[in-house]
């Protein structure tokens, strides 16, 4: 792998940047691997990278039905934070945050991680109490998070309407200053390039259509549309919105439902928002990209859907919330709008671990908020796949919790849509 550096930029400028090496290889698949990962989104690629880097397992294939990184990893609004309520999730997301903080160096790829802070505005006494509780929990966990009054907030974000005359007046806010956002594509491409360099096979345009399961209920590999059967000792499914399909192929049900989640961006305008603001109460969130577009996220559509598009009332509602919070944006025009299919669980936490089929593992249920979890998810799932059982970080997130009742209820902290 050619190392990216200032020097390599200068060197390649001499040949008009026409001789950069390909970022990853496009091999044809072998007949058998140690481990197959289904789904080359952010989580699948990160899993492959940490399998190779941390556990030294490189006889690995990542199978992707389309081109890599075209699913939710390419559709999200890139918010990264770790201020979750319960110890189990705070540990997972904070582990992820620590990986984010060194990710560009680790991958030798600029993921443009920008710790510009994420604010949660509070509009009711209930909001204030929930956020204060969260801040206190985070302080005990060693995760940064602090409360601000409406006056402090107004100083920090002048364009936010913190006046008493607002329809849903802002009473205060919590802010995690280490939170922020990153460039989603670069995260996937950086992991893909680094994993490929370590010998992992990235197989694009290879749709998994079935699981090969023997008489002792042990997985032996997968069936694919383009390359027939590919065998493996272990199979890890990281298919986000299509996780239910993976389970169906293997003959079990899961506590997961797939919903459309929408986002939109505006025309580029001059810089006016240098942070991320979200409101659970009026239900919308916004940041401004480096290009100047406003990046706006909506909530999920309430029905199961696989169509990568949602309903118009959701968009309308979101825009109402944004204009309520930032009246100065009322005449900004929207450029594009799209949807992704997110896999939601009843307690708003992911499912990582074993399945009813031996040697088949699942990493899914990240729902509306898995982008921030990409490094931590990959790290924890790589450990699970390498050892054949979950490690400490992943263990509380087993599917079994829906049977035992040991739920990790993050509905409050997960808030709007991430």
């Amino acid at each position: 792998m050619e190392k990216y550096s200032g020097l390599s930029l200068v060197k390649h400028s001499l040949s008009h940047h026409e001789n950069w090496e390909r970022q990853w290889a496009n091999p044809t698949p072998n007949k058998k691997y140690d481990i197959i990962i289904v789904g080359a989104g952010g989580h699948g690629l990160a899993t492959a990278y940490y399998l190779a880097k941390v556990h030294g397992i490189t006889n690995v294939a990542v199978l992707e039905k389309n081109h890599l990184a075209g699913g939710n990893i390419a559709r999200n609004t890139t918010i990264v934070r770790s201020n979750y309520l319960w110890d189990e999730s705070a540990a997972l997301y904070e582990h992820s945050m620590k990986l984010w903080e060194g990710l560009s160096q680790d991958l030798n790829y600029n993921v443009m991680f920008s710790q510009r802070g994420v604010y949660h505005t509070c509009h009711t006494l209930g909001d204030m109490r929930a956020n204060e509780r969260l801040v206190h929990a985070n302080q005990i966990q060693g995760v940064d998070n602090e409360m601000l009054t409406a006056e402090q907030l107004q100083k920090e974000i002048p364009t936010l309407d913190c006046s008493a005359g607002a329809r849903y007046p802002i009473m205060g806010a919590s802010v995690q200053r280490r939170a922020g956002n990153a460039r989603h594509d670069a995260v996937a491409w950086g992991y893909a390039r680094a994993a490929s360099a370590l010998g992992v096979h990235l197989i694009q345009n290879c749709e998994v259509t079935g699981m090969i399961i023997d008489g002792s209920n042990t997985i032996r590999g997968v069936k694919t549309k383009q390359y027939g059967e590919i065998r493996a000792d272990r199979v890890g499914c990281v298919a986000a919105g299509n996780s239910g399909e993976m389970a169906r192929m293997a003959g079990f049900e899961m506590p997961v439902e797939s919903h459309p989640l929408q986002a939109l961006v505006s025309e580029p305008i001059k810089p006016f928002l240098d942070t991320v603001v979200m409101s659970n109460h009026v239900h919308g969130y916004m940041s401004q990209s480096d290009k100047g577009d406003l990046v706006i996220g909506a909530g999920i559509d309430g029905w199961v859907g696989y169509g990568q598009r949602g309903s118009y009332p959701i968009i309308e509602h979101t825009i109402q919330a944004i204009v309520e919070m930032f009246p100065c944006t009322s005449r900004v025009r929207m450029n594009r709008q799209w949807g992704g299919i997110v896999d939601t669980t009843p307690d708003a936490c992911p499912i990582i671990g074993t399945t009813p089929v031996k040697n088949m593992f699942m990493n899914c249920g990240w729902g509306t908020g898995g982008f921030k979890g990409t490094p931590g998810s990959g790290w924890a799932f790589a450990e699970t796949l390498a050892q054949g059982k979950p490690g400490d970080l992943a263990a509380p997130f087993s599917m079994d919790r829906f049977v035992t009742g040991a739920l990790i209820d993050e509905h409050g902290a997960a808030g709007v849509a991430h």
Partner: protein, 101 residues
């Protein structure tokens, strides 16, 4: 925007008047005191998450306030029919995975 027929009001109304309440026809365990934890989990949390023709419960929350079922394709989003609780959907043409009849 979905355009939904309420079999109680006997009219098509816009999606905003309704709330989707998830998978339909989930039978409550007949003998709750003797259910295993897995049986309770299946009833409360585990879902079909169908990719294709899906039967779901809807509430006409900003209308008549009554519940009914809808059969809808979760890929095309096309609604096949609305029908009353306690009844089964009418058999329709086999809709394949791409949603083309």
């Amino acid at each position: 925007m979905l355009h939904i027929y309420c079999p109680h009001c006997c009219e098509y109304r816009e999606e905003e008047e309704f709330h989707c309440k998830g998978q339909a026809h989930i039978a409550r365990p007949l003998d709750p005191d003797n259910c295993s934890e897995q049986e309770w989990a299946n009833f409360i949390f585990f879902r079909k998450n169908t990719k294709g023709q899906h039967q779901e419960l809807w509430h006409h929350s900003a209308g008549c306030g009554k519940f009914f079922n809808v059969s809808r394709n979760t890929i095309t989003y096309k609604i096949e029919q609305s029908y009353l609780l306690g009844t089964a959907p009418q058999p329709v043409l086999d809709v394949n995975k791409e949603g083309k009849a």
